[in-house]
């Protein structure tokens, strides 16, 4: 975590004032472990959001070299987010992981649907199917935004305090998009959905704005100490506020705390209690234009507008009747009378009372839906209503969700995009675009249109690319970036190539992951390039086996031939009889196929020859010796046997060439060997010839042996 450095050995080179300004300075301590003074610093970007800092000390000529202290050090600093985000890093990664599957599923469905409909998703049967897929996607994403376990249920009466974890702005924003763009079935009851939305997320505004939620929370704490609630003005205020935004169950619960319900007072406050109960019943019978209620919610549902209107009129008549009732005169508890009258005014839609009961324009906006204009439909009228509410209750600090709501209500896709991008970041942009394009044809055109100033990509693709960049910058999420990159038609593959090339090949797990990604997306060229890079890396670091393996996998004949030369130098020196064990593994790896071994298959034959030669002693049967001789001839015949091995091979096989019993090499074979020897003598004249490390008479003794053998072989034949 960034913080002020406290280590004594870390030297602050730039003075930092402890008072944080408007933009607090984030300090990352460098643990370079060098003694002061530091001579020079050099900065460069390492992988992702890691900064590489090279710290140099002044070269000290007077000091002896052997004091063991480093002259400099390279340290890497991971620049993390400054910490005011609502999602911490681990949770953010989980979100990133979990959104992969829904996203990938939606993309593949889009492909198969557009393949089926040939051109566009606008043809009705496909359109409906597409809607269902988008809704499913939206619900899944929404659910992963609240994966925390709900806390144990609160014992305090106020149900609004029972929150299921801390809701996130991100989820609130996602749900807004879902309500307005995706969920076609709820189009007719958008006001009610907004009401639910506000009930879920009102607490999000509490930090920056006065809200009903914070008021209720305050009152709830107060409630514990209050003896006679109905005499507390906050009790009535809390209820009118809760009623204004439609939290009916809260109001009814609070009403039932009224003192007149107490057993000992029931008889003396009968009329008063009757009025309280009448209001409670009216509240709980409020008609709602929605298919069903959420758990614990009150009201009566109506699915069609005519039914709802009829019920609404009836309900209002009942309220008016109660308002004019003569029982009020018999109620001598002033606070109760006034408080209940106030609640009735809210239900009758008195604008002043509603305005007093709410704290910001959003709450007022919802209360207007509920009590003044219950038949509002269409974004335009909602937008007008919102504008009016804002005039009544202007906000000094605009909340990011307000900006989004106004953009949506104003049917301004550009504003919605800008708000999403500004407030909710790349994750939101990459995933929410699907909702926007599904929701309006205009948005679809806007987002899918290719822009030349964006390098020919559409806005949709741009946001996916940006998100993929964010994923790429982290060691644990880079491997999900390909899923987003491959959904980008124009630039995706190019960036995926870059991403794969940037991965460190020395880490075998990352190497294998890169190869797996190449396999999945059929990136054969990149695959062999990565394997080639890995091969060269391992070879250079002395892991010859791994080097050869990866170059073989990459089918890189050129480099295999190059390293074969180096390897032969090595072999010539170290393949003594006992050291050969070491080579076994590598030779096994090489196999005997010339196709992928790049001349290295010579080693395989060479090994076989050495093995058979080792078995040959003075008293071995001739057949064994003959096998060894055959191996020798085939090695010498093989064009891939390096010239420098010819003489050592022949010299090692002197005992075969001078076999006592009978000649093991026939005339033509001997002639071949003599020819090779001749070729070798010619080659010795060339300046680049490397002399084998053999006794000086080696050549002449081989020549003599071959000549003798030729003579014997001719006689035999």
């Amino acid at each position: 975590m960034p913080g002020l450095t406290s280590e004594s050995d870390d030297l602050a080179m730039v003075p930092v004032s402890p008072e944080s300004e408007k933009q607090p300075v984030v300090i990352y301590p460098l643990r370079h472990g060098l003694k002061s003074p530091i001579h020079r610093l050099s900065f460069s970007w390492a992988c992702g959001n890691t900064l590489r800092v090279s710290v140099f000390q002044k070269p000290q000529s007077e000091k002896a070299d052997g004091d063991g202290e480093a002259g400099g050090r390279v340290v890497e600093v991971k620049l993390s987010n400054s910490g005011d985000e609502e999602v911490d890093a681990a949770r953010w990664r989980r979100m990133a992981y979990n959104s992969v599957t829904p996203f990938a599923l939606l993309q593949s469905r889009k492909h198969s649907l557009s393949a089926a409909s040939r051109m566009s998703l606008d043809i009705p049967p496909y359109k409906t199917e597409w809607w269902e897929h988008v809704i499913e996607y939206s619900k899944e994403i929404s659910s992963l935004l609240s994966d925390r376990k709900p806390p144990p249920k609160s014992i305090i009466e106020d149900p609004k305090s029972v929150e299921i974890a801390a809701p996130m702005c991100l989820k609130a924003a996602w749900e807004l998009l879902e309500i307005f763009y995706v969920d076609k079935q709820s189009q007719s009851w958008i006001p009610e959905r907004l009401l639910d939305w506000l009930a879920d997320y009102n607490s999000l505004f509490s930090g920056t704005l006065p809200t009903i939620h914070s008021k209720l929370v305050d009152f709830q704490q107060e409630l514990v100490g209050v003896q006679v609630v109905e005499e507390d003005p906050n009790y009535w205020d809390a209820m009118s506020s809760a009623l204004a935004v439609g939290w009916l169950e809260t109001v009814v619960k609070l009403l039932r705390l009224h003192g007149s319900y107490r057993f000992d007072q029931l008889s003396s406050r009968e009329t008063e209690n009757g009025l309280v109960e009448a209001v409670a019943v009216l509240i709980s019978k409020m008609p709602r234009m929605r298919p069903s209620l959420r758990e614990d919610n009150l009201g009566e549902c109506y699915k069609t507008k005519p039914d709802f209107m009829k019920a609404w009129e009836k309900w209002r008549t009942q309220i008016s009747k109660l308002d004019c009732s003569s029982y009020w005169l018999q109620c001598d508890h002033r606070q109760t009378r006034e408080g209940l009258k106030n609640l009735i005014q809210i239900m009758l839609g008195n604008p002043t009372v509603l305005s007093n009961a709410t704290f910001n324009w959003m709450e007022l906006f919802i209360s207007h839906f509920l009590y003044i204009r219950p038949f509002t439909a269409g974004l335009e009228s909602m937008h007008n209503s919102a504008q009016k509410c804002m005039q009544v209750k202007p906000v000094s600090i605009s909340h990011k969700l307000f900006g989004l709501i106004l953009g949506i209500l104003g049917e301004n896709t550009e504003v919605v995009l800008a708000e999403c991008s500004r407030s909710f970041g790349p994750w939101m942009m990459a995933h929410a675009v699907e909702l926007l394009t599904a929701g309006s044809t205009y948005a679809e055109i806007l987002l899918h249109e290719e822009h030349s100033k964006l390098g020919g990509v559409s806005i949709e693709e741009l946001h996916r690319l940006v998100y993929a960049q964010v994923l790429s910058s982290h060691a644990l999420t880079w491997q999900i970036a390909p899923i987003y990159l491959t959904s980008c038609i124009k630039q995706g593959i190019g960036l995926l190539e870059n991403l794969l090339y940037k991965q460190p090949v020395q880490h075998s797990q990352i190497l294998l992951k890169s190869i797996e990604i190449c396999r999945l997306y059929e990136l054969d060229t990149i695959n062999s390039n990565i394997m080639r890079i890995a091969g060269v890396h391992h070879w250079r670091h002395g892991r010859k086996g791994s080097g050869v393996f990866w170059l073989q996998q990459a089918r890189d004949e050129f480099r295999l031939n190059r390293i074969a030369k180096q390897l032969f130098d090595f072999v010539g020196k170290s393949v003594s009889d006992e050291g050969f064990k070491q080579w076994e593994g590598l030779i096994e790896l090489l196999g005997s196929e010339s196709r992928t071994a790049g001349g290295l298959e010579f080693l395989n034959k060479y090994r076989d020859f050495r093995r058979s030669l080792l078995q040959v002693h003075g008293d071995t049967p001739t057949d064994t010796a003959r096998n060894a001789a055959e191996a020798l001839v085939s090695l010498m015949k093989n064009p891939s046997t390096p010239q420098r091995f010819w003489l050592p091979l022949l010299y090692d096989s002197l005992k075969l060439l001078m076999w006592q019993e009978r000649p093991l090499v026939n005339v033509s074979q001997t002639q071949l060997l003599l020819n090779k020897l001749q070729e070798l003598s010619m080659a010795r004249l060339r300046p680049d010839f490397v002399e084998a490390d053999l006794p000086s008479d080696a050549l002449s003794s081989v020549r003599l042996a071959l000549a003798t053998n030729l003579g014997r072989a001719i006689l035999e034949e």
């Binding site: 644990l476 892991r543 791994s546 393996f549 590598l586 196999g591 196709r595």
Partner: protein
């Protein structure tokens, strides 16, 4: 956390998100029927630190299992491989690291704590990544193999570790996995689907080598994991690249028994995975009582986990039983030895899954 029920077998899956990447994990020996411990090698990418963690897994038949964090110790380097001895009182935990060291810890299961015992590192041990490590049955002998081509034998005697070099190929080969076959024999595996059989009574090099001919012409691969069943010490089970799982029987050395893999021309093999098989273990669950009845020539059923997110049981000539199909890789798994119905596995997306078969 989700519960999934498979049709072929009653299977319960519980997932537990973690806040760091899990390099490897193992069950620790069971202390009581209701409390078991899991040891994790975790890597925190934010701070670039790695640690060993002990988690307590409470398990009762009625409630879903719960995982609670018990203790953790920071390790000097990232862990590549974990192995545990089955001593129920104070099990030893050996870990091999990226930086070429071997770390030894003991776990106190009563308090759920970890204690550092000893470590081996330095130029004489391994240079670079140690890829594989295994502990002998008696819990005092370790063998480690590395990408540097070294094989080391480490003994735990008198409270400390002493090490001896078995072989050094000087980088001419790299090893990926190792497994004890007997107190003096072990099998190593690595590049080119190669396996090497080592016998300490015949030092100097591998006693026997295997390189399958079936890889010729097609893509070759790397052995990532080896297992040997205590009752069938002549057969070595190996898993690696391209979904390849095969058994190598010392008595029929030239021909491997193919269990899975896409690199083979034999189409009758139903391969559950197409990418790297990270771990193989014999699965004693289905045959725990009657594995002796399984014909000698048949390979015992084995469980694999793979890069493409598959956890499956494969059996020679049978269709594989898929236990999990995840959208991300399954890095590591372990079957509880005392309770083979229970499996724990680590998922690439920073979570753990516990599976219970019934």
């Amino acid at each position: 956390m989700a519960v999934l029920t498979s049709s072929s077998q009653n299977l319960q899956v519980h997932r537990f998100p973690q806040e760091s990447y899990i390099d490897s994990l193992r069950w620790l020996p069971q202390l009581s029927a209701f409390h078991r411990h899991i040891i994790l090698a975790a890597f925190d990418s934010e701070s670039s630190t790695s640690s060993l963690q002990i988690l307590n897994s409470s398990n009762s038949s009625s409630n879903p299992p719960e995982l609670t964090f018990q203790s953790s110790l920071t390790t000097p380097s990232r862990i590549t491989s974990l192995t545990t001895s089955q001593n129920p009182n104070k099990p030893l935990i050996a870990a091999s690291t990226f930086s070429g060291s071997l770390l030894l810890y003991t776990a106190d299961l009563v308090n759920g704590s970890l204690e550092f015992v000893d470590s081996v590192d330095g130029k004489g041990f391994h240079l670079g990544r140690v890829n594989g490590i295994d502990v002998s049955e008696n819990g005092s002998e370790f063998v480690s193999v590395g990408e540097d081509g070294r094989i080391n034998w480490v003994s735990f005697v008198g409270g400390g570790l002493s090490t001896r070099k078995v072989f050094d190929s000087n980088g001419l080969v790299s090893y990926g996995a190792v497994k004890w076959a007997s107190p003096v024999e072990f099998v190593s595996g690595g590049l080119g689907f190669g396996l090497q059989w080592w016998d300490q009574r015949r030092p100097g090099g591998p006693v026997s080598q295997f390189k399958a001919n079936w890889t010729r012409g097609t893509t070759s691969g790397i052995v990532h994991s080896i297992d040997i069943h205590p009752s069938r010490k002549h057969t070595c089970l190996a898993g690696g690249s391209s979904g390849t799982v095969f058994a190598w029987d010392l008595r029929w050395q030239q021909q491997p028994i193919m269990l899975s893999g896409v690199g083979t021309s034999d189409l009758s093999i139903l391969s559950p995975s197409e990418s790297d098989v990270w771990e193989v273990q014999y699965d004693n669950y289905t045959t725990s009582s009657n594995y002796r009845n399984v014909s000698e020539s048949r390979v015992l059923p084995a469980m694999i986990c793979s890069e493409d997110g598959i956890l499956a049981v494969i059996e020679q000539g049978e269709e594989p039983i898929e236990l999990l199909a995840e959208p991300c890789a399954i890095n590591s798994f372990d079957i509880d030895r005392q309770n083979p119905s229970d499996i724990v596995c680590s998922l690439e997306w920073e979570s753990i899954a516990i599976l219970t078969r019934s």
